[in-house]
Symmetry: D2
Subunit: 342 residues, 4 copies
């Protein structure tokens, strides 16, 4: 950690600071310049609160040299993580592998609505190449007057679809008190709004299930990795990172897909990185181009909204593809992946 | 709600959409232009999902004319809300009023550390004019390796300080499972990271205690009001809104205080609006100018970090004022408020 | 244009506003609701200043239904624009086509440094498939103490490289007073910082040369199209739009490439859209994945920084590929384009 | 400057880099850690391009310790700058002082429309306490179809108002080719869109007139100071910095006033800092609270839009106060300044 002191810091103030830093078990290397003094902190600076130092009146700036995330850090774990999801349904024994070249396609409706709906979609997305089924049971809605999901009943319906198709299921956990309903859920999703719900993350570190961790609307890639670290620090190292768009001034799309986050995250961490093009743009006709872009850019997978409601197609969700559109998307994505990997 | 259709929408598609809208119990007013058709939706559009309509392939844009928040809306509740917080400690009967001209000053340390610390700060901020005591017991930290607070023990220490000084206490709730420790907490704080933790908001709607709701880092004022609506829809109308800075590209301060949010929120809603200058900037020397700015701009109160640790002052938190600085700040704030209200 | 009036607007105020709108040659359709009144403005609203109306005390919101850009608008010009750049050098007669399926690769160094440098790069990028040569002669630098470019001499060197290779040349115009040096420049670039330099845009509308218009750091796609409209309104319809990243809170990359801007722009406008991956990320190892993403997402071309300085490769610009890396990038981009267009 | 190398940098690569840095005339201090190596660059690093170093494949991060701006830097010029504007009109000899406690109020219409309009406004704002007159002659409009100003005729009208009232005049320069019309303009304004129009800034460094430099929509305070440095490096040290709101995701106001930029800029630089509340919010009813906030926060002045068009008041610009509102604002601002300075 590099601490730059202001030129008007007195020798006494400087001495006090250095003494305090040493009391934390660190060494200090001092280098004096004409207009400022630079302190290099040497040792295990992981637990040093840089905000605290930054706030001192004699400090001009603080730069952390070592990232605060360890278990998620590629520096200490050079190979790509790969882990396997085993659906315990219907005699299906072959697991779905994630990471290190195993491309993962998760598909399903925004909300679970009925057994008929979720089973039909599950069958159709399986036929088109999806390896997991998604569907919202507990829904985080901005307004209290919007539909809030079927809750535990929704999860039961997902489990029926899993038994029918053998597809492992992914659904969002919004509150720890709901965890009791998640026994048969194969991958637990943490939504963007909960990315920094630290109590939730800590508890998920004890579950032993793979966690799909979505990036928050206003969170940096570093913060995403620190949230992954919360889960991993608890003992659960099966974290799938998910880029799903960040909030910017542009309003033409709901969010701005940060496509560069894919190579950035893969460089900083060994964890698999997938992309949610549906929530990133919020407009169905852009889902395919964004999926192709993500595939070309090196994503380890996609999570895509698909509906199955021909008689009401006009009014269906803005982010959802029809099963036909989804099948076409998967084919194109595979062609792009081949082209990139040649 | 105004829906603009693309010029290539067919008569059939248009008809289907209108029929569906009418099935929701709304009337539709149609107006055809040369390059687009405009539909005006008339009736109770509150529960209509505009994102869903926006996503239809024939729709160019959707504009909501009526806000989705009702209980928080000044349109339906013209007078400023005012509510009273009664500390049930030590025979103190006089309550603290919030809103409608009652200026609220909340002060205290970032974290509760010891009985000695919190009691000393409580006494000194009371002497300087604070009407409530704040202090973190459960701490939301970006990194799992940072200090996470004293938890239930911290709340016990806050209660001791309340009994000593008569000051009602405010502290942050991070997870519903901790609510059992909050019996003697007078105002429950929802942190910025939890502003859209909908399950938490719903549960707080049942508590009957005033809620201090902080704006999320990337949330608009409309979203803040919808989060307040979640609490109010549950029956608890005592919500204090708190502007604490938003995330922008500027890095000179930790966040960017959106000072205009004060008049905007007060125009849209009858709820009291307070400002947290400490978290907005993250740098102690800017806390006073930002507090004065907020007072001049019409805030109903301030929540300020104050420490009391002379022997370690050099290394104390970046956002915290000393008791002396806090006393000076309160005096200046009062002078500015008088100047504005003349 | 839809104008929503506040519920406390008096009949007189409403009448005055309607009268004034009619005096602008528009019709007004009025629809009264319980809590607000909605005015629909019918006619040519292009020149109506919505900011002016939005500021009236009786107005709650204003929504523009028709975009303000006309010549750039796909609504009025359904087919993709395609135009040809003819380098008038060295007897080369075959022009370079842009738009409507003609993929354009522009490559070259950040700055023109010497005849040797620019000629060597020109030859190598031509051999790898570039159709145009870029190079900075006038450089917009954030600090006055950074290298400002070779100015007119730089353009002369570009012209030499053009004569040698037959590649048309693209370079940035920073001020109208430099236009006199641009006679032999084939495509004039407007940099991100000048996207709203309206006087420059107006003058370029008179030049008859294709303009490469970069999106500003904080500008929406609508504003980019309005800037294109400035050029086109002057009579020059040869505008190439360029997405090069926007400024967000994320600092892992220099800017955030808004990959969705490609399909958004192509839907709203008939103009060709290219991507600058080099400036979007600022880090050479991300240039290839971003280029592939852009190709997969439907870009009409790329503008890429390439250097040619093996003996100083270590210290060369962060955004620049070596000629070998560029050749590899072009091959991969072509494979991705084929995969997408199958 | 601190350069952190990645752990996989070879000894040869490291040696090459150090050699190159030394060739720039700098010393290098090397400190090896377990997971990275830190280089401290010692000497005049002002002209070292950190982006270039950041881009090297062996470099993890670069931190500049010394700011790149020198003439604008308070480190090298501790006292507040103060300079005087002398209107050379009508025998008025007393100048207007700016900076170091001299509070500057500039007022006037968005656009100059007629002699009658500008002269009436000039008289009324002078009576209410304005010390300078503003008015747009050349207007930067987002759309080519909006009113573009009266150009040179507008400046002539401003000069008439100056002769009538003795108020020095401020107006925006959009292009160097217009500079010939600015002889009698007392303060030249650089608009937000031109903050990084480097050629314009360089030319203004030669004018000898005070420059009112507005912060760009997406520019940091550091970049604003570097733009000031462009002007000052040319010999003109009379630069007034102006905070006028930045672009964020919030749409309730046109821009987000970065109120903390006032103390930040005043700490980093000795130049005077003023605030434009009219453009920051775009809504007339928020102009007063934002002006009071700025005054409480330590601004050195305000630039406010005032119109004078009672018969058309309904339809006047959204950001403009009436003369009566302006007079009331000045009184309140003065009371707040007194309260703060007690």
């Amino acid at each position: 950690m590099i601490v730059v002191l202001k030129k008007d810091a007195t020798i006494e103030q400087r001495g006090d600071l250095i003494e305090w830093i040493k009391s934390l078990g660190l060494d200090v290397h001092l280098s004096e310049g004409k207009f400022q003094t630079v302190l290099g902190l040497i040792g295990d600076t992981e637990s040093v609160d840089e905000e605290l130092i930054k706030g001192l009146s004699i400090v001009q700036s603080v730069t952390r040299v070592t990232e605060k995330f360890k278990k998620a850090n590629r520096k200490f774990h050079n190979d790509d993580s790969v882990f396997e999801v085993n659906s315990n349904a219907g005699g299906v024994t072959a697991g779905v592998k994630i990471g290190d070249g195993n491309f993962l396609v998760i598909a399903g409706p925004c909300s679970v609505e009925s057994e008929e709906q979720i089973c039909a979609i599950a069958e159709s997305v399986k036929a088109s190449g999806a390896q997991m089924l998604r569907g919202g049971a507990f829904k985080p809605r901005t307004s209290p007057y919007d539909f809030q999901g079927l809750h535990a009943d929704g999860i039961e319906l997902l489990v029926k679809a899993k038994k029918l198709t053998g597809l492992p299921i992914v659904t969002e956990l919004m509150d720890l008190s709901h965890l009791k309903y998640f026994d048969e859920v194969d991958v637990i999703q943490v939504g963007a709004r909960n990315m920094q719900n630290m109590e939730l993350l800590k508890a998920l570190g004890k579950t032993g299930k793979p966690i799909l961790l979505k990036r928050g609307l206003a969170n940096t890639v570093s913060e995403l990795l620190l949230s992954a670290e919360y889960i991993m620090a608890g003992g659960n190292e099966q974290v799938i990172l998910c880029e799903r768009g960040i909030r910017t001034f542009e309003t033409a799309t709901r969010n701005t897909l940060d496509i560069a986050a894919i190579p950035v995250l893969k460089e900083l961490s060994h964890l698999p990185v997938i992309v949610d093009p549906s929530h990133a743009c919020g407009i169905v006709r852009y889902v395919k181009p964004l999926s192709l872009a993500a595939a070309a850019c090196g994503t380890d997978g996609l999570i895509v909204e698909v509906h199955n409601n021909p008689e009401r197609a006009l009014c269906d969700g803005p982010q959802s593809l029809t099963p036909e559109q989804f099948a076409d998307l998967v084919k194109s994505v595979n062609r792009v992946r081949e082209a990139v990997n040649l």
